[in-house]
């Protein structure tokens, strides 16, 4: 049967990894999803429950892909509860990717926003000097630190963790660390994905220093292909124009960092 990337392809979850008490990684086989670009996402159908957008996570086996999901509302909890052997539907990949510079790079991720950052790390050149900044509320919400270290074995690099409560790594908001880093260093590229307020401040800090910065946005998504309109941010459609946007463009968008639309399409404050 031919594949249509807008039609859910059924995949069996083969392995489930607990990352934190609320975050799990579900691993499955699929050649297309194994080879998406960093920032690209899939619409993931949990039969009988819901369908939700998920960044496509890397795995250490060729031909395998994964989703790293935090349980939150009913949809994400449904996915979180999928056991090995169960089936999910996957369509996509959707969206664009990061414009990866060379030289000194700063990656800023929070929570499951680390997913596209991990994939981005698989694309850096051995000559690149890479700083990964991981923000979390507290120690038990930190994950992918070891993976980042591992992916950067060949590089000059540092992996910095900040926790709001100081229970691990540096104490404080990750965006304060961004401010500090971009004030002290030049970066050829700054990349961020995570809570919108984190991305907003990261983009502001980096942009104010004249750095090239990109963020991968999240919005309510129904179609993933630019039909339904639910993911619009100003005149941009996150699913089709993004999810990755240049910081410069984002700062001219009056909704970025301030509003998102609810399921009825009404603007709500972040």
């Amino acid at each position: 049967m031919q594949r249509n990337h807008n039609h859910p392809k059924i995949c069996t979850v083969e392995k489930v990894i607990d990352e934190t008490p609320t975050v799990r990684t579900l691993v499955f086989s699929d050649d297309v999803m194994a080879n998406v670009l960093p920032g690209q996402f899939a619409m993931v159908w949990v039969p009988g429950i819901n369908e939700l957008p998920m960044s496509v996570m890397i795995t250490d086996e060729p031909g395998m892909a994964a989703f790293t999901v935090r349980r939150h509302g009913p949809a994400s909890t449904g996915l979180y509860n999928v056991k090995a052997g169960q089936k999910i539907g996957v369509r996509g990949p959707y969206g664009n990717s990061f414009d990866l510079k060379q030289g000194r790079l700063l990656l800023v991720g929070g929570g499951t926003g680390l997913v596209p950052m991990m994939r981005l790390l698989t694309f850096v050149k051995p000559e690149d000097d890479v700083t990964v900044l991981i923000g979390a509320k507290s120690k038990d919400e930190v994950f992918f630190e070891g993976m980042a270290e591992n992916l950067l074995k060949q590089n000059k690099h540092q992996v910095i963790v900040t926790t709001d409560d100081g229970s691990y790594g540096n104490k404080g908001y990750v965006t304060d660390m961004v401010d500090k880093l971009v004030s002290e260093n030049h970066y050829d590229g700054v990349y961020t994905c995570g809570p919108e307020i984190m991305m907003y401040k990261t983009v502001q800090h980096a942009h104010s220093k004249g750095l090239f910065v990109q963020a991968s946005l999240e919005r309510m998504m129904k179609c993933g292909v630019g039909i339904c309109g639910s993911c619009c941010v100003g005149e941009d459609l996150v699913c089709r124009d993004g999810t990755v946007f240049d910081g410069k463009h984002l700062l001219s968008n009056k909704e970025f960092g301030h509003f998102h639309r609810n399921k009825a399409g009404i603007l709500e404050n972040y």
């Binding site: 049967m1 031919q2 594949r3 249509n4 990337h5 807008n6 039609h7 859910p8 059924i10 619409m43 159908w45 039969p47 009988g48 819901n50 369908e51 939700l52 949809a75 089936k87 539907g89 369509r91 129904k222 179609c223 292909v225 630019g226 039909i227 339904c228 309109g229 639910s230 619009c232 100003g234 005149e235 459609l237 089709r240 639309r261 609810n262 399921k263 009825a264 399409g265 009404i266």
Partner: protein, 303 residues
Amino acid sequence: MEPSLAASIGKIDLERPIMLASGILGISLDVFNRLYRSGAGAVVTKSLSKEPWEGYPNPTILGLKSGGWINAVGLSNPGAPYFAKMIEPNTDVPIIVSLVGSVPEDFDFMIKQFANCKVAAYELNLSCPHVAKVGLEVGDDPELVKKIVTVAKKSSDVPVIAKVGLGTTHYLNTVGAAIESGIDAITAINTIRAMAIDVDTQRPILSNKFGGLSGSPIKPVALRCVYEISSKYNIPIIGCGGVSTWEDAVEFFLAGASSVQIGSAIGDNWINVFDDINKGIKKYMTDNGFSKIEEMVGLAKKS
């Protein structure tokens, strides 16, 4: 002389003959502006109800392996009052406001919300195939259609369009009822009720089970509806259903449509589809010696 793309749908005058169809990207004024700049002659809003609606849970849309889409978004929308506020600043874009409701009063209420807005027309959605008590369930009742159209016409001076589809009564009766009550134009057609089942999990894919089929699969059906309406009635028609190339658009003109709407093709080809189609129509007109869109309208009926 360059052919002109200007289109008149009765009293509605547009610079270009292709519009955004209802429900497609239709929830933000910023996006409307962008689409207008991209070549849409007008934009039709998402169908609005009196109150905000969340719509159905996902999955709400899927692409079919053989082409086309099925959706059951469930008419999620922010409600007419909120929406009217949002488009109040609009001065440039011809906005056609699509409305759903169950009783005539709903439409009166909603139209009054737009008193301070520049609205090119109202489009009454009498044809959504997958939400109870509105859409087709209204369109399938010609007596109710008459009442709704009568009220909508009274609620403002703006032209009113009825959007029809294939329901459980003959759509030509719905068209007839709307015309009797003074409708200004007809949009044909909405999506066709359909479904998709996943064989691996043995269940319907959409959360609502049933949805509406759109895109290329419905084009030949939409085209015959336009041809049938224009053969039976003297009313401006907006063709809708599966338009994705200039050739599709021209087919609809020849069948009797004064303009066309585009929905699913945006999912397939993104928004440059407007500009591509405009250019294609213009070239076709040049090649075939047409100077105005209306010279093509209904030409296939002459053969």
